[in-house]
Symmetry: C2
């Protein structure tokens, strides 16, 4: 599939079929991740591929708790309504973990020290695109408590669980949400 089509047509998936994802597809997706660029080629990412149902159920129930806290703090109604069943339904969850020690010279700059997160986000985007090209749906989920995820996955205190990527065959086709026109967000300095 052409890259412009992949980028434009790829959309978030919230309903997954239970069909397992092949090992081959998972490997292709992870390979796409590690070809993302990173500051000084530090490759600040690690991945945990979860197919275990008990662990997925645990992630789901912890995320339900987190959602309640978020709703109390934000008062945002969509948070209350947001259904996170995809966390137990998706056949695969890929946990993306970043290592702050592997950021670049940006650590010495104002608002810096986050290049490792940018690299992990680029790796995540590569995975979403690769998955879509393989006919798979993905959801980039971040509304979890980091301390809880560290506990579930025995992640070192100094590393950051940055995203849960739900992955599987999409149960429904749906359209991507609209985007503002490029003109609205771009200025030219000629």
């Amino acid at each position: 599939m052409d890259i412009f089509t992949t980028i434009k047509e790829r959309r978030s998936c919230r309903k997954f079929l239970s069909d397992p994802v092949s090992e081959d597809a998972i490997e292709k997706i992870l390979n796409a991740a590690v070809w993302a660029p990173s500051a000084a080629n530090n490759q600040p990412w690690e991945f945990i591929v979860v197919t275990n149902n008990d662990i997925k159920k645990n992630i789901f129930s912890e995320s339900e708790k987190c959602k309640k806290v978020l709703y109390e703090k934000s008062g945002w109604k969509w948070v209350d309504r947001y259904q996170v069943g995809f966390l137990e339904e998706a056949p695969v969850i890929i946990v993306v973990i970043g290592d702050p020690k592997k950021t670049g010279a940006d650590m010495f700059l104002e608002g810096g020290g986050l290049a490792y997160q940018h690299a992990c986000a680029a790796a995540t985007q590569n995975m979403l695109l690769a998955a879509y090209a393989l006919g798979l749906g993905t959801l980039w989920f971040t509304l979890f408590d980091k301390a809880t995820m560290r506990k579930i996955f025995s992640i070192d205190a100094e590393k950051e669980p940055l995203a849960l990527i739900c992955l599987g065959k999409p149960a429904t086709a749906f359209n991507p949400p609209p985007r503002k026109d490029v003109k609205e967000v771009t200025v030219y300095l000629r």
Copy 2:
């Protein structure tokens, strides 16, 4: 070009030809950017497309100053040796600006409030891939002083200049830096 090939073969470019980049190519690249996913579809990005030589020279000389500060702070020899001439040589620089107000519910989480930066990083990765598919080289540059960039581009104090994307025809072909094997950075929980 197939997406897996694009993802794997795309590499950073540090030497650019002076040939201008067509308006059409720039639009395709920006369109790829805005199809990145973002928390709650907040689309927290803005772009400044710089082709003006005086502004590029200014970015270059300010980045040279920033590099000196970084070298003093870090003591890292590669920072001293790092040549940033691409900042004036690249025919186009795209400034990526993020709006922290457009992050998602992550703002209520530990270590949160950065989803807008992740979305901008995903948009950046889309631009790098799109550019490569168009035969163009890119460099994702972040070693600049944010306050200085805010001044040069009259960016509001509450918005964040996150990256300078240098863009143009590559002057030299070169191989991507090596990556660790996926197996070294992945754990499976079955």
